[in-house]
């Protein structure tokens, strides 16, 4: 019998996306292939790597120029409307109608998602509560929401239809630490019966909840592994210790060295955390330390070389 972990719901096969611009054709994605099942998959990568483009393709908002996306064996292109009933999507640049109240906006999206009216009201209240927005003033418009509250509203609308596939583009962007923790806990709780794919720059969030990690770089899939596998290349390449401030400054400008952390540690000294592509510490006295997600991410970039 198949286990949930081996099951894939969403499959991408050779996905490519190109845009024509005045300077010649530009590719946002090239030959991206992977499969997703229930659980949390985190998508990481530098700016311009193609994360948002990929999520838009998976949300069936734009079409790929190459390749195939299929859900449970059925090509999304065969019936994108039916596929969209199965997803909840939080865009990176989420906006609402400023003159609507949050509840009215959610009621609008509920109708778009085909939620019967008699169910929509209770569901709206439920998702507002889940996202920590139940304390908002009833008459307040969306235009008055803070950036973080707007982001939470975006997450709430993605949850309205309780979809099996959640696509979240930078869900914690603009949130304070408390809200970030709440959202990550919510993501973890939801993932039991859902496939969740979210992109993030905050690798600490990824470390907290990821069952699988995808790394994009320049439109290509650079890595696809479980968290241990993602971190593995960085083992033996991360060093930490206390150095002179001048040494820390030199490290920052040294080629092939990435300083991922630096905090003061006494007069004229600081504790640094560095990642190097080789196995030797860049300075005597620095000791190898276990890598975390951020270290692993930086290490992969270093090993890939200058772009």
């Amino acid at each position: 019998m198949r286990s949930a972990r081996s099951r894939s719901w969403l499959e991408l096969d050779g996905i490519g996306k190109g845009y024509a611009d005045p300077f010649g054709r530009r590719r946002a994605l090239r030959d991206v292939s992977f499969a997703l099942g229930p659980g949390v998959t985190v998508l990481v990568g530098p700016n311009g790597a193609g994360k948002t483009t990929l999520l838009r393709i998976l949300a069936a908002v734009v079409r790929p120029t190459a390749g195939r996306v299929s859900w449970c064996g059925r090509a999304v292109a065969a019936d994108p409307v039916a596929y969209r009933d199965l997803i909840g999507y939080l865009p990176q640049d989420f906006r609402s109608y400023p003159d609507l109240t949050p509840a009215a906006f959610l009621a609008y999206v509920s109708a778009l998602k085909g939620i019967p009216r008699e169910m929509a009201r209770a569901r709206t209240e439920e998702v507002l509560r889940l996202c920590g927005l139940s304390g908002l003033s009833p008459g307040g418009r969306c235009v008055a929401l803070s950036r973080g509250q707007l982001r939470l509203l975006g997450l709430a609308q993605a949850l309205l239809n309780d979809p099996p596939l959640l696509l979240l583009d930078e869900p914690t962007s603009g949130l304070d630490p408390e809200a970030r923790v709440r959202i990550m806990e919510l993501v973890r709780r939801l993932s039991a019966g859902k496939a969740v794919l979210f992109s993030t720059h905050v690798l600490a969030d990824a470390a907290q909840v990821a069952d699988w990690v995808l790394a994009l770089d320049e439109g290509r899939l650079a890595a696809s592994s479980d968290p241990d596998g993602f971190v593995a290349p960085a083992r033996g390449r991360v060093f930490g210790g206390v150095v002179e401030a001048a040494q820390a400054a030199a490290l920052r400008t040294a080629k092939g060295v990435a300083v991922v952390g630096q905090v003061p540690s006494g007069p004229g000294r600081c504790r640094v955390r560095v990642v190097v592509p080789g196995a030797a510490p860049p300075l005597p006295g620095l000791q190898p330390i276990p890598p975390d997600f951020e270290d692993a991410y930086v290490c992969r970039r270093l090993l890939a070389g200058p772009s």
Binding site: R2, R7, W71, C72, G73, L86, G193
Partner: protein, 203 residues
């Protein structure tokens, strides 16, 4: 089954499906009980592998149970269920994780010359060695599907079109082509040898 009987049956299945999806285990048992046999037989005939069919049938009902497969208001129940099963099969064939399993089960290649696998049961072997199975293996999956759905599952051409999401004309032409090819194959004796004694012994 008459048209009216078919309509009543479909309405009943819709009711059972709705109850099953809302968590009624009795309805789930009834849903699976009523439909497991046809799904299983379809997958066996499509894939030619008895053991694989069990796995794929389970996956089919998993997708139904999870509500993973959208169904439009106008879509009849049976073709929708067959479509899920069909997509499970295609998904399996296409999946990277199962390439070796596909090769071992004898599905690989249009020649039908799958490798013998020590774990393939007597049941599967009997199936594979039958002339009918050899004939079906000679067809492409697309043509095999229309033959199985029409000849064995007794779906109408319209229902086959719904199941495979094809125009009706394409279904007709595929069926026609498939039967012509089968006729030519029979006439040319190109099939791998099969044991006359097996056919005589069974039934």
């Amino acid at each position: 089954m008459t048209g009216r009987e078919r309509d009543e049956s479909v309405a009943d299945e819709d009711r059972i499906l709705a109850a099953a999806l809302s968590g009624d285990k009795t309805a789930l048992s009834e849903l699976v009980g009523r439909n497991y046999g046809r799904v299983f037989r379809y997958l066996v005939r499509l894939g030619g592998d008895y053991h694989l069919a069990q796995d794929l049938a389970q996956e089919t009902f998993y997708r139904v149970w999870q509500g993973l497969c959208g169904r439009r208001e106008t879509a009849p129940f049976r073709p929708w269920l067959y479509r899920i099963a069909h997509n499970v099969f295609i998904d399996h064939v296409r999946s990277w994780h199962s390439r070796n399993v596909v090769a071992a089960s004898g599905l690989a290649g249009e020649d039908g010359e799958g490798e013998a696998d020590p774990v393939v049961s007597i049941v599967s072997r009997r199936l594979e060695r039958s002339q009918a199975a050899a004939l079906l293996r000679k067809l492409s999956p697309d043509h095999r599907a229309v033959v199985v759905l029409r000849f064995y599952e007794d779906l109408t051409l319209g229902e086959i079109a719904e199941t495979l999401e094809l125009p009706l004309g394409t279904v007709k032409s595929r069926l026609h082509y498939a039967f012509r090819e089968l006729k030519d194959l029979l006439a040319s004796d190109e099939l791998p040898g099969f044991r006359e004694s097996d056919d005589g012994r069974d039934g």
